[in-house]
């Protein structure tokens, strides 16, 4: 018997990638489309149920269109049950309010709810923190038990936390968790494992790497898991050291070399690092424009520092030297000082001031 464990789709959430509005909308639609693909995958592989471990939607941003779409996908996949647990960002009840829920959409509540498929029992709860919901869990150890929760794994109780010690030796074979956006799987106790499947699609550059779901196979009391990369696009953060580079073409070449192997449909964030001099051709706009055709989206973050040797300006009796000395003596942040020096020098040398 197969199950899909997914979570944290955050439909209708804002894209944290600084995508332009058009691409942000396209990306949001792609996440919906990935959900449909996953449903089709489940139907094709004869998956019994899809376990959604929370944060299907994002706070109050869920639109009627998206809610309708998700319900239609679920309704059009009648052979698969969708067990949907609300997360801390979900407002599913609001999202689905006033709508007829498909029969194959199962939900959970503030008390443990159990769904059984043969010898497999799936339990889930959307706990209210003041209750001792851990002790309320009742599992038959003769069954294969899958437990669905949303929260940060922890060793203590608390709001939004999943206290793992409280769930040990309770007969859990697989603890399907949602909340963290990267895949993690570890041993829970002698019997079971806990697992964050991660988000289905990365939305920001804090969600780089492969994203997808976990395929759980329960057979003869044993549970096998497999992470299935399923995202349409992958996000990459690639550091590039430009300390030894002078020209914009050298920097561009270094970026391309660093991004070798990255697929064209992916989103890439280059982080420029190292020190640069006033002579370094570090034109981020130009670099972005030249890299954009190679990927779905390109973002360049500048973490470089201006290499300004003290001896080069300390005794320079000139306006430039005096300017640098004054700026360096100011109580501005290091980054602001660098920015002002860079702008001042660009202005004095008649170059384009790159804001």
């Amino acid at each position: 018997m197969k199950f899909i464990h997914c979570s944290d789709l955050h439909l209708d959430s804002s894209m944290e990638t600084n995508l332009p509005p058009e691409k942000a909308r396209q990306r949001a639609n792609e996440i919906c489309a990935t959900f449909r693909r996953m449903a089709a995958y489940a139907a094709e592989r004869q998956v019994t149920a899809v376990l959604i471990a929370g944060d299907l939607f994002d706070t109050a941003r869920v639109t009627g269109k998206t809610a309708d779409y998700i319900l239609s996908v679920i309704a059009q996949t009648p052979s698969v049950d969708f067990l949907y647990l609300c997360g801390n960002h979900d407002e599913s009840r609001r999202a689905f309010a006033g709508r007829e829920l498909p029969e194959n959409l199962k939900t959970f509540g503030s008390e443990w709810r159990y769904y059984r498929y043969g010898a497999v029992c799936i339990a889930g709860i959307e706990p209210e923190e003041q209750t001792d919901w851990y002790s309320a869990l009742r599992l038959d150890e003769r069954e294969t038990n899958l437990v669905l929760l949303h929260g940060q794994e922890a060793t203590q109780r608390g709001p939004g936390l999943v206290c793992l010690p409280q769930l040990r030796d309770r007969g859990i074979d697989y603890l399907a968790l949602g909340h963290l956006h990267s895949y993690r799987e570890q041993k829970l106790d002698l019997r079971g494992r806990w697992c964050y499947c991660g988000c289905l699609e990365g939305r920001g550059f804090d969600e780089c790497g492969q994203k997808g779901f976990v395929l759980v196979e329960a057979e003869d009391g044993k549970v096998k898991t497999e992470f299935v990369p399923f995202a349409k696009r992958t996000l990459h953060e690639i550091p590039v050291d430009i300390s030894q580079l002078q020209t914009v073409s050298q920097i561009g070449q270094a970026m391309r070399s660093a991004a070798e192997g990255v697929a064209r449909e992916d989103l890439v964030k280059f982080t420029l690092r190292g020190a640069f001099t006033t002579d370094t051709q570090k034109d981020l706009r130009f670099l972005t424009q030249t890299m954009e055709p190679d990927y779905y989206f390109v973002k360049i973050k500048d973490e470089t520092t201006l290499r300004l040797e003290k001896q080069s300006y300390e005794h320079d009796i000139s306006l430039k030297g005096e300017f640098i000395r004054m700026v360096m003596a100011s109580d501005q942040s290091e980054q602001d000082r660098q920015t002002m020096i860079l702008w001042g020098l660009q202005a004095l040398s008649g170059e384009e001031i790159v804001l």
Binding site: S14, N18, Q311, H315, S318, A347, L348, I353
Partner: protein, 868 residues
Amino acid sequence: MRLVQCHVENFGGLADYSCRFESGLTVLHAPNGFGKSTLAEFIRAMFYGLPRASKTLGKNLRKKYLPWQGGRFGGNLVFEHEGVQYRIERTFGEKPAADTFALYDLTTNKKSARFSPQIGLELFGLDSDSFERSTYLPQQRGELNSFSTDAIQAKLADLVEDTNDVNNYDKAVKALREKRSSLLAYRGAGGSVPHAQERISQLEQSLQQCRDAHTALAEQLDREQTGRQALEDLKQRHRQLLDQLRQASTAAGKAAIAGQYRRLQEKKKEARAQLDRLEAAWPGGIAPRQEITQALEAMAQAASCEPSPSLLQAHAEAERSLQADAARFQAGVPAEQEFAVCRQNCRQYEQCCDLAQTACLGTDEQTRLTELEQFFAAGTPDAQQMQTIRAHQAELTRCRAELAATPPAEQTPTRGKKSPALLLLLLAVAAVAAGALLLTKGGYAAGGILLGCGVACLLSAMYLRLRALMTLQQAAPKDGVRRQALEEQIARLDARLQTALSPYFGAQLPPDAAAVVESRAAQYRDLLEKRARVEAERQRHLERAQALESEISAFLARYGAHAPGDFSEQLAALQRAADRYVHNREAAAQYDAQLRAAASQLRTHRKTVDAFAEKYGLTLDDDGRGTVQNMAQAAARRQTLLESLAALEQEETSFYAENRQILDEPDPPQTFDLPQLQRRQRELEAEINARTHALTQLNQSIRTLRQTADQRPELEDALAACRAEFAEGREKAALLDQTIAFLQQAKERLTTSYLGAVEKSFSGYLRRLTGEAPEHVYLDAQLQVKMERFGQMRELGHFSAGQTDLILLCMRFALVDALFKRTKPFIILDDPFVNLDDENTGQALALLRELAGQYQILYLVCNQSRCA
């Protein structure tokens, strides 16, 4: 600090060159091309090294001073600092990495770490460029002399402000301000930051609407959920009510079924009673429908077998008509063939009469015949007479023609004709006259020729005339005799013709009298023959008509139909009478047959009716048919009653079978008031409808609110982007403001730091050199020197090159005073006084000597006159 000596191994054009420096003024007098500037650059390179290679030769000192002759690139320099002598040894490679540096303390002759390779910076506190700009005064080159004021002024200004700084400060500030304005305008609401702020306001407003919609949506959804729950409750109550209604309806239905069953039984009973009453009214029984029908048919057919009055009347009329024609056709009716023959005879008779009437000549022919009978009243000439007349006529014609062809005797054949002789005569006269005229005029040759021609023509004319006269004289006697004979013959023939034709024409004969007579005689004979043929034909038709008339009259008379008049009409009347007679005879026979058949059928039908009446005990009087018809109605009614009874019995059986369970059950106690339940149902349904309608409206409102609320993600994202743009723009604007402020402060500080000291030293040097009063000299913040002349401050451009050089020399020393506070540097002057006159040169050299006590000066000069 003091230079002691230097040794150039190889540096540019200098090779293995040593020089020792005085503590004060060192004058190096050497010709042009010696390498004075190279030596100055060597000294600087010893302290500062050589910079990285540059692309341009002017800035690429490594390339510029690469030893011309090869060899080790570099040398050494000995200087004294704080009482200790040091030797700098430097060699230079193509790149800085290949450079070597060594510093020796000459007190111990060991390497010293007192200074690093940046010894110049460490000693003087100035970088290489600043050191060069302040302590090295180059020779005035030709192009500089022409505008020395600006060039040197700019170079002096570079001491405190980098060349690019000076040129670009204003541009830099302007560019920064423009950037700042693009973000946040200094005036007005321009720039991306206010734009973003405005957009933020709009977005916040829209977002607030979304949030309001979202709040309202939540409320509406709660209401919708409550309403839906209430509706569900109502529906539940409605379902319960329907159950009660069903129970009540079941009870009512059972009662209705029982009532219906009772009504069925009553109807059956009533039908049975009616049937009994009907059968009692017919004690002999009610005949089956078929028998009644047969009896009625027999009665109807018996009635129809009675001969009708019209038949009897027609029969009588036919008999009467037969009786009337019986005498005429006693011997029989003529056959059709006889009628046909008689009709043929009648037509032939009429044709013969018509042909006899039309057999005569036409009117024109009769008139012509009459005219010809009058013309030939004297008789018609026979053939011999006509042949004679024609012979005379032909002979007369011939004689007249011959007479006409024979000319009379007194006539000449040439009369009336133009003779050739006459023409020749006229020509001869003309030629002779012309010849004579020419001869008189002296034209003898032409006149002779013409005269000759005239004579020739004259002779020819005479010959022709003579021959004609001779011909006439020979023909005249023969023609006269012939004409006379002919005229006599003509007279005879005319007389004979007159005799033969005068009976027809009288005395005056027409020219073609013989032909006319002959033609009319032929025509007369033809008309006479035709009249004879027509008369014979008429006689033949008349005879045929008489024969036919006899035959027709005999036929008509045989049937008593002959009478004077038209045979055809009589014959037609006879035929009509014969036809009528035959028709009447046949009709009478037919009527007889009909009357006999009717009598036979009448007897048969009456027998059937009598048997029917006897069987059912009926007395059939005159209205027997009415009795039978009543029985028929009774039979139909009985049949209807029987069928109705059977149907009722069937219905009763079926109904009982269908509702046996209900009919056999005891009646349930009535627990529901059905009308009340129905009223309650109507009320509930109205309430459900109202709530459903309210929910529909609520859902419509929810949809509308959701449309507004659904814009929230997009608006939030846009707002976040706008806020980020706004914050970034504002931050950058602030940073730009600070950058501009720092730039302005740096400039002001730089200017004020050095300006006072420079101004003070400059005034001192200038007074010592030129005696110029300090109040007459003005140094502005840009280190531009202005001097008062004739009550007005004037820029250096108004002064001579020599004066300017002196001023700038003072300026240079003033700057050195100001710039080098800690360590007094050496000053290198590369023949700077080329523009000065002797007096000014003397003053400048005097100043140098004076300053030599204060500074170590290396004065490079190529001209003996400018040696200090």
